[in-house]
């Protein structure tokens, strides 16, 4: 099962990167500041200050923190539970990120580089989680069983 370990490590690493981004944006939100905007201009401020930046009172980056924690859990969990949790977390993360990116492009009309980075990370998470599930999923059974 050597290559599944590699996939789990990759998931864990991506989760940490995503967790870093989400945590940074959460801190900036509660401080009332604007995130450092690498793209230049006020894209990040516009996105973070928009109506869409909170969901029923919860800042979107906080949702991101929980999302990435689930990915981390999926990476840590062995066997089928971990694999399918990974697919679930990846689908939710990537799906919600696509929706948020749509909002940036067509509703808010401003781009925040941090949000784009997180969306990219989540898509990679989904890809790796799917590979892990398809290649190794459903294989757990009595010892001695092979594909």
């Amino acid at each position: 099962m050597g290559s599944e370990a590699a996939l789990r490590w990759a998931l864990g690493l991506l989760a940490l990167v995503g967790l870093g981004i989400a945590t940074y944006l959460t801190i900036v939100h509660y401080e009332g500041n604007d995130p450092v905007c690498l793209v230049g201009g006020k894209g990040c401020a516009a996105v973070q200050d928009s109506d869409y930046a909170t969901l029923l009172g919860v800042p979107v980056p906080v949702i991101g923190v929980f999302g990435y924690l689930s990915v981390l859990a999926a990476a840590a969990l062995p066997g089928d539970p971990g694999r399918f949790l990974g697919v679930f977390a990846g689908l939710v993360g990537a799906g919600f990120s696509v929706y948020l990116t749509y909002l940036e492009l067509f509703e808010i009309e401003a781009i925040c580089n941090w949000c784009i980075a997180s969306a990219v990370v989540m898509c990679m998470v989904l890809g790796i989680a799917l590979i892990r599930a398809v290649r190794f999923g459903g294989l757990d059974g009595p010892p001695g069983q092979e594909n």
Partner: protein
Amino acid sequence: MASRKEEKENLRRQREEAERSEQAAARRQKLFAGIGIAVLAAVAVVVGLVIASQSGDDNGGGNGAAGADAVQSELAGVPQKGTVLGKAGTDVRIVEFGDLQCPACAQFSESVIPDLIDGPVKSGDAQLEFQHFVIIGPDSDIAARAALAASEQDRYWEFIELFYRNQGVENGGYVTEEFLTDIATGAGVEDLDAWNASREDPKWERAIADTQSEAATLGLSGTPSIVVEGPGGTEVLGTPGSAGEIEAAIDSVR
């Protein structure tokens, strides 16, 4: 004819193959079930998140207008009447022609206006007035009328300064009802109903149109543009980099 040994070999191989395909089928079933459930659950969660995100009234958790306290203390104790800041009976007036959506005006508001207030305005050497030179987009007009409506409750300058501190991307669509109400609330506008009603008053459109023609007469091309008027004359300054330049103009028009 196959010997019995060969027959047994064949049967065993067939059995093993049957077992293997059963195992493969069982594995496929587990895989589809697991992924299927993950997909269904994920779709449910994402749909829930999107619905929650679209449920407009997101005032809870929003931070309202940032910098309300700082603006209040900047303007505390300085008399204000309508669109004019400063002591009555002063003959010199500094007029800023600005657009609320303009980033350079926001910059000016942050770097020069506080010095002007602390200096010539508080000492009574000059008054400060803001006129809406609407050039960036339709949202600027909406914002201008919101500010002018606030002037009727003598909260004009708080509104403008707070707006600049919370400014978004030019024509980015951030000038929503919620945004403007947050600014009005942070600026200390007490009667929001009166404020909302006043925003629709046609007199503001006339005021904004008057500003356009005055700007044209003065030859102003952009924002912010500063004009200093006094008994000794009128100086058109463009966008001064510091309060010092404006103070020099005050001296020359006294």
